[in-house]
């Protein structure tokens, strides 16, 4: 198992390095930040002084060398916009995204397992058709539209929920619902498909012939075998949630990493962008590792391969 983990960690280091290199060099191809940070009426002398102070007038390779040297000391640089340490901004935003993504994924997986299993239990029954229709609709609903409609209906018209923000537990409802709807729709379809396959396998018949109850057949035998594809898709969705809650964070004023990354791209705040991408990449890398480990634990065939 340890060998397997070591192999996975080493193979993930290369993409991580590519991400660091890509973000550093691509960001610097997009123009001089002095034009954004200084007033339009600033003199050329002021622009040159700004570039010199922040090292933007050095050759790119020198800048990259400085960046790596700073990284070695866990120094992520300073935000051009706020003059605060970049790591501070990123570490402040990241838990907000993790919490939102975690709650969303938890609800999506739990809901999808129940709805998908029920739909698969009697394929083509009215319940299955309704679940399939609703999950397809959910999976194809644009989150931007859903969020704005949610605000208009539940906050402005019905006055049940706050429009946005983070004050109070009610403020979680619309962001989580918006973030939940697509993963939920996708996962229901995946769980249903995997469960239909699992429930038609010979071992289910054996279990039933041995007198196992239906609940045990579904949740103990079939669901466990349907777990692997569900886990794969849930892992992909989790990566998307961590990386891409931008729309939800922007609309609902959620102080997360997605909004921070978009803002730092638009404002050419290189230090914050690099720190945010690096932390997100590391998290996704850790998440993928976790999924691999879960996969090993869930599927004996994978376990045997991993141990070999």
């Amino acid at each position: 198992m340890l060998t397997y983990l070591r192999r996975r960690i080493l193979s993930s280091a290369i993409p991580l390095l590519v991400v660091v290199l890509g973000v550093f060099f691509l960001a610097r191809l997009t123009g001089d930040p002095a034009n954004l940070y200084l007033p339009l009426s600033a003199t050329q002398k002021m622009r040159e002084a700004f570039s010199a102070q922040h090292g933007f007038d050095d050759p790119l390779l020198v800048q990259f060398g400085d960046y790596l040297a700073q990284l070695a000391h866990l120094d992520f640089g300073e935000s051009l916009r706020t003059a605060q340490p970049a790591a501070e901004a990123v570490l402040r935003a990241f838990p907000a995204t993790l919490q939102l993504a975690g709650v969303t994924l938890l609800l999506a997986v739990a809901g999808a397992v129940v709805v998908g299993s029920l739909a698969a239990y009697r394929p083509n029954s009215p319940a299955d058709r309704i679940a399939s229709f609703l999950s397809s609709t959910a999976a194809s609903t644009p989150d931007f539209w859903f969020a704005i409609m949610g605000v208009l209906v539940f906050a402005v018209t019905l006055d049940w929920l706050p429009t946005s923000g983070t004050v109070g537990s009610a403020a979680w409802v619309l962001p989580v619902a918006t973030l939940l709807i697509r993963p939920f729709g996708v996962l229901v379809q995946v769980v249903r498909g995997a469960m239909v396959t699992a429930l038609s396998e010979p071992y289910i018949k054996v279990a039933r012939s041995k007198g196992a109850g239906e609940r045990r057949v579904i949740f103990k035998h079939a669901l466990r075998n349907a777990g692997a594809p569900t886990l794969t898709v849930a892992g992909d969705l989790a990566v998307g949630l961590i990386n891409g809650a931008v729309v939800v964070e922007t609309i609902f004023g959620w102080p997360g990493i997605g909004k921070l990354m978009i803002d730092s791209i638009l404002q050419r705040d290189f230090a914050v962008l690099q720190a945010a991408v690096l932390l997100t990449a590391l998290t996704i890398f850790a998440l993928n590792l976790l999924i691999d480990v879960c996969y090993v634990l869930l599927d004996p065939r994978v376990r045997q391969g991993a141990m070999a």
């Binding site: 706020t82 003059a83 402005v156 922007t250 004023g253």
Partner: protein, 519 residues
């Protein structure tokens, strides 16, 4: 190999406890975000902004996001410009006079204290001016207002400060109205995020990323504002800002577009910005004044304002709006006359001007509502007039490469979509940089226009007004470097229980003391 007929059994601890713990941590962690703000009470005015201020550093108060929170709320300048009249009114200085062509003397208000309890003196004023202009902390105000001007300030006595410029500067008090006063205890070597000021409000709590609360300063020298506290939040999405006012979560929402749906809560106001197209008048075919005039005739400004801008603007013929020193009431918006535009292009073509050369409109996404649609309308009109035009929409950073010198080489003739706001109220802050031959934002100038601009910059009072007005008229008639579109308007949403009258400065500063409970 495990037989698929035998459902696999768990090979290790199920980890349920760990999973349960993770869920609990996640959910309780959620509460840290959920409870990190606080609700507002009746004595609080709630304002929702498009973005969080990056800093509250007073020497960056010329940044819109910072200035609208800081200026005259937390910190104050020596004097302040009244947007309606363009005149300076006393703030922390009760008076000022020019004692020599290069020297101004300011008499300071007595009895003013900073939020830390220390008295405001001439030493603080001199320190604040030096810190803004000479401390090497890259103050935005320095670049915005002072440029190459070199200024020194010194305390004459406790209530008198003397400010000297290297060159005669008739509008020095206006420039200094951008310098916010801070105590000498403020760090002179680096920026501060949460300043101490003399304003009617002090910073109570800044929950970064979430909200900012200001509380009334009990020892304020002036009249106490109506609201005890002010709570700022920020939402990037305009429709959500409007919805917050509709649902009663905010009293004031700023920076709205017509499509944001503020409905009856919307209040329109002129925002000091003027939209225009800058022409590369040194590149064919735009180097022919007939082509530049044709472009002005071809664009239907009234139609643009009525349809694309949804009425939020007024067709304009010059870059400075009424209320700014130098505004020329005789310069009218160019009439829409497609027939004349076509004949001018035909005449230029007949004289060998390469009018078929591809002209690129460099647009900027989001520079004002429906920016891309505006450029598409202009493109169609210019094509109809006989020009070959394409549109290239860019983000702000890529766009500034075209806005500022040195311009990209081999870009071909371009029309740059731009917008100019004269926040300072004097045409000096427009003319040199936008129309001067060497101006940072100028693609073309003439010696005649340069001369007129320089003469105006050295004049004072009525003469200054007349000379800038003449320079603007010369630009409009003889140079025709631009196609000016409209003096723009903005929308603010106000809840029924507050009263506030926005003015042309409201986009850049919002005085909390001017917000009152309705009725």
């Amino acid at each position: 190999m495990t037989s698929p007929l035998h459902p696999p059994v768990s090979t290790g601890p199920p980890g349920r406890r760990a999973a349960a713990l993770a869920v609990v941590v996640l959910l309780t962690g959620g509460c840290t975000v959920a409870n990190s703000g606080a609700a507002a009470d009746a004595g609080t005015v709630q304002i929702v902004l498009p973005e969080e201020p990056p800093t509250l550093e007073p020497c960056d108060a010329s940044l819109t996001a910072t200035g609208r929170v800081v200026r005259s709320n937390i910190t104050e300048p020596l004097a302040e410009r009244v947007p309606e009249t363009g005149e300076l009114e006393p703030k922390l200085a009760t008076g000022w006079k020019r004692t020599s062509p290069t020297t101004w003397r300011f008499t300071l208000r007595k009895g003013v204290t900073f939020h830390d309890g220390t008295a405001f003196t001439a030493k603080d004023a001199a320190f604040s001016i030096d810190r803004t202009l000479d401390s090497g902390i890259e103050c935005n105000v320095d670049g915005y207002v002072f440029g190459d001007s070199r200024i020194t300030a010194s305390a004459v006595d406790a209530t008198t400060v003397e400010v000297t410029s290297k060159e005669p500067d008739p509008i020095l008090p206006l420039r200094l109205s951008f310098v916010e006063m801070v105590p000498t205890s403020t760090d002179a070597d680096s920026r501060v995020r949460e300043p101490v000021g003399t304003g009617p409000y002090r910073i109570e709590k800044w929950n970064q990323g979430i909200n900012l609360r200001l509380a009334q300063y009990g020892s304020y020298w002036g009249k106490a504002p109506d609201y005890k506290t002010a709570l700022y939040t920020w939402r990037a999405e305009g429709s959500v800002r409007a919805a917050m006012v509709s649902s009663g979560e905010a009293d004031v929402a700023v920076g709205l577009a017509p499509a944001d749906g503020a409905g009856d809560h919307a209040v329109e106001y002129p925002n000091n910005e003027t939209s225009y197209l800058r022409m590369d008048a040194d590149k064919p075919p735009l180097d022919d004044i007939r082509v530049r005039k044709a472009i002005n005739y071809a664009i239907d400004k009234k139609g643009l304002v009525a349809s694309v801008f949804a009425g939020l603007g007024k067709p304009a013929g010059q870059l400075v709006p009424d209320g700014v020193t130098g505004y020329n009431p005789d310069i009218k918006s160019w009439p829409h006359d497609m027939k004349r535009a076509k004949s001018l292009i035909a005449a230029a073509r007949a004289d060998g001007v390469p009018v078929d050369t591809k002209i690129t409109i460099i647009g900027r996404n989001g520079i004002y509502p429906k920016a891309a649609e505006t450029m598409e309308v202009v493109q169609n009109e210019l094509r109809e007039a006989g020009l070959d035009v394409k549109v290239k929409m860019l983000d702000v950073n890529a766009w500034t490469e075209y806005l500022l010198r040195p311009f990209p080489k081999d870009a071909g003739p371009t029309l740059l979509q731009a917008q100019h706001g004269n926040q300072a109220g004097d045409a000096a802050f427009t003319m040199e940089q936008i129309y001067g031959s060497k101006g940072a934002q100028s693609s073309y100038g003439t010696p005649g226009l340069d001369r007129r601009i320089q003469r105006a910059e050295h004049a004072a009072g009525r003469e200054r007004q007349a000379r800038f007005a003449e320079a603007l008229a010369y630009q409009s008639k003889k140079v025709v470097r631009d196609a000016v579109l409209a003096h723009m308007k903005s929308i603010i949403a106000l809840a029924p229980d507050v009263s506030y009258k926005p003015d042309s400065a409201s986009g850049d500063e919002m005085h909390l003391a001017e917000i009152h409970p309705a009725g």
